[in-house]
């Protein structure tokens, strides 16, 4: 992933082609021509995405395949750099032309409006994937910068999640996951729990900041997360995690494939295709494919359970157990997501799943692992997350109306400063 001025040509190209395609699709009556223009838009966007994101991946795997049959290709080794934000803006522009084709949207009034939609800075590099019908109508309203309390507190919350929690947890995760064989199961479990919270805080923190900044500028983005870690099953999880991506995949991949309109077998097929491609969207590596496959399997299993009407008593204990059980599987899936090296993944999974009852913590570099600050931050996260989930109004809203809001804000400033790491960690989703 790289910041390279030349890559601006890609986003300019995508903007010009999709704006033109959108206009032509809208103004043309011929179904054939409309399809041609749509196909041009999709081919261009998918083409640049596949080339930049998966070019090296396909090449490396082809090399492995050829070498396995004794052929040693002498092609030039492409070291393709992934342009920042490409996964997000290509999906945005594709949704634009598809929605126009489906007659769900009118084109942007000008190339300038469309360019703003594509390159709007708060969400350009790591989402959320904003639909044109959510963004373009707001361009008609008069804009003024408005520092409303909700936006300020949303940005503050995002900063705390990303900087104070996620980046500090990353410290422990990076050390443990780089050499899982060195650590006992208890440390692996702690690091896995830390990554489970890190990825949520990193990504949702970023989107909170993006949504907050957009709101200050007068644009309302829909939420991208809705307490996914209280989900009891995979369907619920994908309605709460990275909502903009999951809804995009549902609207533009799963439903066009047939969704659940046909046979059970086709429904399961469609789920697998959607989730595997969704996994691959995250990165050009087999572990993401495996991660997508795992989530596809979970969704299929859930459908099967629902089909057989296997009912679980709806008591509080059972709800809690359902959440805990399912979230345990989510933690496992994040191990697969995080460990791109197969050998390290295997070691981590083995120690996570098969507890070694080794509680001896000497000789493992305890001082470097920051165990207690990791546990401290996990406790803070789960407490706030629980309060937020149980509360009918967001914590930020509560803070606005309480008389103690000034004290809370001062404490937030203190916490943010003391836990702001001295080493910078980029947003995890920047790499996608």
């Amino acid at each position: 992933m790289w910041w390279n001025p030349a890559f601006i040509l890609l986003i300019i190209g995508s903007t010009l082609i999709d704006y033109t395609a959108g206009y032509l699709i809208y103004t043309n009556k011929s179904k054939l021509y409309r399809l041609i223009f749509l196909s041009t838009s999709l081919c261009f966007n998918l083409g640049i995405l596949v080339f930049f994101k998966y070019g090296t991946f396909f090449q490396d795997n082809l090399f492995i395949l050829f070498r396995s049959i004794g052929y040693h290709p002498s092609w030039v080794n492409l070291n393709i750099i992934l342009p920042v934000g490409i996964s997000f803006y290509t999906f945005q522009t594709m949704s634009y032309t598809i929605d126009i084709y489906r007659k769900n949207l009118e084109p942007a009034k000008s190339i300038l409006d469309f360019s703003l939609y594509v390159s709007f800075f708060p969400q350009l590099v790591a989402g959320p994937i904003v639909r044109a019908h959510d963004f373009l109508p707001s361009l008609d309203r008069t804009k003024q910068i408005k520092f409303d309390p909700q936006s300020i507190l949303m940005i503050l919350g995002g900063l705390i999640k990303k900087v104070a929690i996620a980046d500090n947890l990353a410290y422990n995760v990076d050390i443990v996951y780089s050499d899982p064989s060195h650590y006992p199961s208890i440390i692996i479990i702690l690091a896995s729990l830390a990554f489970y919270v890190q990825i949520y805080c990193d990504f949702s923190g970023y989107t909170d900041i993006a949504i907050g900044i957009a709101k200050i500028l007068g644009y309302n983005f829909p939420p991208n997360f809705n307490h996914p870690y209280f989900s009891k099953n995979p369907s619920e999880f994908w309605k709460r995690w990275h909502i903009s991506l999951s809804s995009w995949l549902k609207d533009y991949l799963y439903i066009p494939l047939g969704g659940n309109r046909y046979t059970q077998f086709l429904t399961y097929r469609n789920l697998y295709i959607t989730m595997i491609l969704g996994g691959l969207w995250h990165g050009a590596s087999w572990n993401f494919v495996l991660w997508g496959f795992l989530h596809g399997t979970l969704l299929v299993l859930h459908k099967i359970i629902l089909k057989f009407k296997i009912s679980i008593p709806y008591t509080r204990i059972m709800q809690l157990l359902s959440v805990l059980f399912f979230q345990g599987i989510i933690i496992l899936s994040w191990i697969i997501f995080r460990q791109t090296n197969y050998s390290l993944m295997k070691q981590t999974l083995r120690k996570f799943l098969f507890f070694d009852f080794n509680f001896s913590l000497s000789g493992i570099g305890l001082g470097n692992l920051r165990i207690f600050s990791t546990i401290f931050l996990l406790v803070i996260f789960f407490t706030l997350h629980f309060i937020s989930h149980k509360s009918k109004i967001p914590i930020s809203q509560k803070l606005i109306f309480t008389r103690l809001n000034t004290i809370f804000l001062i404490l937030a400033g203190i916490f943010l400063f003391l836990f702001w790491p001295t080493k910078n960690n980029p947003f995890i989703y920047f790499q996608f």
């Binding site: 408005k146 300020i152 000497s362 000789g363 937030a412 400033g413 916490f415 943010l416 003391l418 836990f419």
Partner: protein, 323 residues
């Protein structure tokens, strides 16, 4: 409305940051962290009320490797020796203390690890911050030992050093919790003991020992010794400094665990020959790389009780035979 919201919601956050920034230098001294021993060393040298005439500097190898009171008992002449080593203390860090010495001291014994000679000596910014936040004020003579960037950084204003040290609370939380898991680590002793602040009393399992040896043994045999010119030059600068204040300066190469077998005999012989070649009247270098057997180590480089006794005996022998 914007101004009102900024005042109500952004200013308190900034106020919280400002309050923390202003109080950080005080909190840093108040809350225990991994660097508290530095404060002990600075105050000991500043106050000069201990009548010490020989001072030992070095890393945790010396913290566990030398009991300076027992060393004193092994010497022919009466001396008062202080062990002012600290965890991960490098020669650059020790050089910050040199400004406190004068001709009332007899000797400074600087212990170094052999592999440090292969790299240019560098003063870490974290060390500089630690010293300044604990009240250290660099004197003009310290400039001799530091590069211009290092001297500039250590003389930075306390606010910018505080900003860079903002993660000290995390260090405190983890240090305090380490007490639960490492009962052998007596932080009170480490932060208060001027003679034998031993940290390594817990016996490692053979599996953990093997893992550490594997981790620290070079992947390939090291056959030749190629020291850093800057490091050697640095030693000479220090030696000249101590000569100017009439204090003897000894550099002692710490023992190498023979189980780190890829540090070959050729390497050790090369090192020994080289160190002999750079000796001078004001720079005495003592090579202790081969004095301990592998059963005298608790891990890859810290001496155990047997190793400590042997270390003291050898050191006493050298000191007794010197001027």
């Amino acid at each position: 409305m914007n101004i009102e919201n900024i005042i109500r919601y952004i200013l308190p956050i900034l106020l919280g940051v400002a309050i923390t920034l202003m109080s950080l230098p005080y909190l840093y001294k108040l809350l225990p962290n991994d660097y508290s021993r530095t404060e002990l060393i600075i105050s000991t040298l500043k106050n000069r009320n201990n009548n010490a005439d020989i001072v030992l500097f070095g890393s945790s190898i010396i913290m566990s490797g030398i009991n300076s009171k027992e060393l004193t008992n092994k010497l022919n002449k009466p001396h008062n020796i202080l062990n002012l080593s600290s965890s991960a203390q490098t020669i650059k860090e020790s050089s910050l203390y040199y400004q406190y010495f004068d001709s009332t001291y007899n000797a400074i014994l600087q212990f170094i690890e052999h592999d440090k000679l292969l790299e240019d000596p560098v003063l870490l910014n974290s060390v500089s911050r630690n010293f300044r936040l604990l009240g250290y004020v660099p004197q003009f003579s310290t400039q001799t030992f530091l590069s211009s960037d290092e001297f500039k950084y250590i003389n930075s204003n306390i606010i910018s050093l505080s900003v860079d040290s903002r993660d000290f609370l995390i260090n405190t939380i983890n240090q305090q919790s380490r007490r639960i898991f490492r009962r052998d680590l007596d932080m009170t002793k480490i932060n208060n003991d001027l003679f034998y602040p031993n940290t390594y009393t817990q016996v490692l399992s053979s599996d953990k020992y093997s893992r550490l040896i594997k981790q620290y043994n070079p992947s390939e045999p090291v056959l030749s010794f190629s020291p850093s010119n800057k490091y050697i030059e640095f030693l000479k600068i220090i030696a000249e400094y101590f000569e100017s204040i009439n204090v003897s300066f000894y550099v002692i190469i710490n023992p190498i665990n023979p189980d780190l077998f890829n540090y070959t005999e050729d390497y050790k012989n090369n090192m020994c020959d080289f160190l002999s070649s750079i000796q001078s009247p004001n720079l005495t270098i003592i090579d202790f790389s081969n004095i301990l057997n592998s059963n005298m180590f608790i891990d890859h480089w810290h001496p155990n009780a047997i190793g400590k006794d042997k270390f003291e005996i050898e050191l006493a022998r050298v000191l007794n035979s010197s001027k």
